[in-house]
Subunit: 477 residues, 2 copies
């Protein structure tokens, strides 16, 4: 897409702010409409959290952040939006009024998603000018990290919405029938009720309930969910065996689910006090950052396993087509990325080996520039790195945005010598350098040989354009 896509965010609270961040950090322009005079500050806070975590999930150069603006009217916000996301308060009359104004001013082909956790699309669509345009797009907090989105609505509309969301790295799930609370909130609701009973009856505290979840089945659910976990419990005999073995328990009088505990002031106090004892030593801002760091670390751990949320991250990295440098009359930028939490040593420094990884990734970009891409490699030819001479100049910190500037020192025949400078983007400080020697090889004979065809032409041209340039300053020091 040449022009950036445009999202209108109606309601800029934690959820709306999360949507704004998700779109912005995927290169969309975002315009926010919210009558709250504090909206700009609130969205800014969510965005600050998102900037330090979402891009760190990626291992490729992520899209350039889009433009954020704030509308003076809802009409202005939605006028030319491709996606309009409503995150207004959970009252049907408010939502109806918002949709009426949106549809009076938006494009007819715009997608209008609602963040509602409780209402069905048929309820949201009541009295709408174009009912089929409105659908449920229910996200989970933090919206900028958790990928799942429940989509409910008219088939053709939600199919279009699904494609858009997949392109910004999310995991849209089309719900097959509209029901109150969609899918996930029915589970959350059931667990919440049980938890209230356990506290009211003095069986467990908020801390104990959280511990039984996070030291136990929460770890299972983060990567396999409910049924795949139980499939294992059933053993080789499978799901049928599991149901035969555990199904009957369902009729046991275990739960108090049929009843709803009254949220008296006493019960509310009990929960609030226990929660203070458990988590009161951290501010909400601290808790948010702890949570985000945990999620990034766990999702990147699953990325290494190519499983679940981690598989999705790998797919998203593969989806992002690198915009290869075209102006090669000067050293060019080969890589831009955020330093993620799992690259840090116990002492808080970036692990030494990751410098090698950054420069190896930068070298790969040069390969792609000259057409030595996966197809070329599949044809039996490639470049091998023979040596990396790395200079460590300054400390790299968690969350630093860094970029690599590369110059081709020599490109003749089978020999390719690159010089990379890794810099902190914020202040331009030079963090490390790498003098990298690559040789072109035949994967068949395992010997060096000249590149072939288009690759030879392009690498030679690149070498001629670059090798005449003055040596990088850091190399002359």
């Amino acid at each position: 897409m040449s022009n950036p896509m445009k999202a209108a965010i109606i309601g800029g609270g934690v959820i709306g702010g999360g949507w704004a961040a998700r779109f912005l950090l995927n290169g969309w322009d975002v315009i926010v409409s919210d009558p709250d005079p504090e909206a700009e500050r609130k969205v800014g806070e969510v965005l600050a959290n998102a900037r330090r975590s979402l891009p760190a999930l990626s291992d490729v150069t992520v899209p350039k952040e889009g433009k954020l603006s704030f509308a003076t009217s809802l009409a202005e916000a939605v006028a030319d939006a491709d996606w309009i996301q409503e995150s207004a308060p959970e009252r049907l009359d408010i939502k109806h009024a918002v949709f009426a104004e949106i549809q009076a001013h938006c494009r007819e082909d715009a997608l209008i998603g609602s963040s509602t956790s409780g209402f069905k699309p048929s309820e949201l669509q009541q009295g709408a000018a174009r009912p089929e345009q409105i659908f449920v797009a229910h996200p989970f907090n933090p919206v900028y990290l958790l990928p799942v989105i429940e989509l409910v609505g008219v088939q053709e509309t939600v199919e279009r919405a699904k494609e858009v969301l997949e392109n910004i790295g999310m995991k849209p799930l089309i719900v097959r029938k509209e029901i109150d609370a969609h899918i996930a909130d029915r589970f959350l609701e059931a667990v919440w009720r049980e938890a209230l009973w356990l506290i009211k009856d003095g069986v467990a505290t908020t801390q104990e309930i959280d511990d039984v979840i996070r030291y136990g089945f929460g770890m299972r659910w983060a990567q396999m969910g409910l049924f795949e976990t139980y499939r294992i419990a059933g053993g080789e005999a499978g799901m049928r065996h599991f149901i035969a073995q555990f199904g009957p328990c369902l009729s046991w009088p275990w739960t108090k689910l049929m009843d709803v505990p009254e949220l008296t002031e006493e019960l509310t106090n009990m929960i609030a006090d226990q929660s203070d004892a458990q988590s009161g030593m951290h501010s909400i801002r601290e808790l948010e950052r702890i949570r985000d760091d945990n999620l990034v670390a766990m999702m990147r751990a699953l990325k290494g396993r190519n499983w679940g949320a981690g598989e999705l991250l790998n797919q998203q990295d593969a989806r992002i087509k690198p915009s290869l440098p075209t102006d090669v009359d000067a050293p060019f930028t080969t890589l831009e990325r955020v330093i993620p939490i799992d690259w840090m040593d116990y002492n808080g420094h970036m692990n030494e080996s990751r410098y090698g990884q950054v420069f190896s990734d930068a070298g790969d970009v040069v390969m792609q520039m000259v057409g030595a891409d996966p197809d070329y490699i599949a044809g039996g030819l490639s470049y091998f790195t023979v040596s990396n001479e790395i200079g460590y100049l300054s400390e790299t910190h968690l969350g630093d945005v860094i970029h690599v500037r590369t110059q081709v020192l020599e490109a003749r025949g089978k020999k390719l010598r690159l010089y990379h400078e890794m810099m902190r983007t914020a202040d331009g400080e030079l963090l490390a350098t790498c003098n990298q020697l690559l040789l072109h090889v035949s994967l068949e004979t395992r010997r060096t040989c000249e590149p072939e065809g288009e690759v030879l032409t392009r690498i030679t041209a690149l070498g001629e354009a670059q090798s005449k340039l003055p040596k990088p300053a850091s190399m002359r020091d």
Copy 2:
């Protein structure tokens, strides 16, 4: 403890096998009693899974694995056991018979835990010779990885049980009142019921339900549980605000919880078929290993954050007192560990930097041997590593048990030179070597200086004993 502790495992299925593995890999001797002729094979399979995952959670030398044996009678198994764990089928009459036989032959001070997921201690204790000896110790599959244990029973007994379990790295939670299904299974039960309705009503498939969990709230629960997550949702206004905002939803008619879907053959087939479509491409054994690798990777990710299950792992590492080498007339073993999944590169090799970490850890053990421990360092003196010359000799694989053999080449004044050999324990293959130079420094002046007092005496003696030894063979090559 000089003599290893002894656990008797009554019932050697997946749960009993998991308990056996948890005890064995923490240095306990384990004796299994199970009439099933397949018990030895079944326990062996669980143990194989445990050996490749549990030790990899640790970053210190873990205890030597205990002895595993199989009893010909229950009486023989429990005779001198410190902990007896009953994992018999979930029928009260069977459990009563098992407890009667256990108590007829076990020590009066033995701890008798039951893995029951449904029965209350008062039910288990009916008719027992010493009711107070029997308590619920309810684990979660896989028992060798998930740390949480629900303890229910007589206060004094469960307090003793808690201490034992903490010593083997678990997270025991004493449940304040006995109720059917303890705590966790009430949640699991509530979610299971909802899931059955969603499938029966055609709202979602097993795959879709698993995805909504693992791409969404499952990730939140794995690290913060329910209440801490909602505390964040409430914002700075806290838990009270959250309840005021979301509490009322409880009376909405969202769920079908009051009703239990009948597990007809049709519903059972529906679930089993969906589960086959979702996971049938993997055998149960494959799924177990995928799950375990995911759990290890995620738990180690949380270990880096020192949070939740990861904080527990750090505590357990700190609890394990290294058994320092005492025989120094020959090169000595400084470190033994398993190569964990997060040390692997994308290409399946151990990341280069981890060799440096292994040798740095080995050097730390020598520091501890001579008394240059955290107290000494707090007093302002320490050793700094000046150079590591690492030779990479052979590939290190995921799950390899490796050990490091160290020789002191020189220990004179402020100078200490160590030579480390890292070997794969299974076949003795030399994987890497390190010639390590350390200098003793004052942390105050940041200059080198002689060690003081006891440390000087001991490092000098160690140097004298070791430097006369022939140089290691790998050094002479």
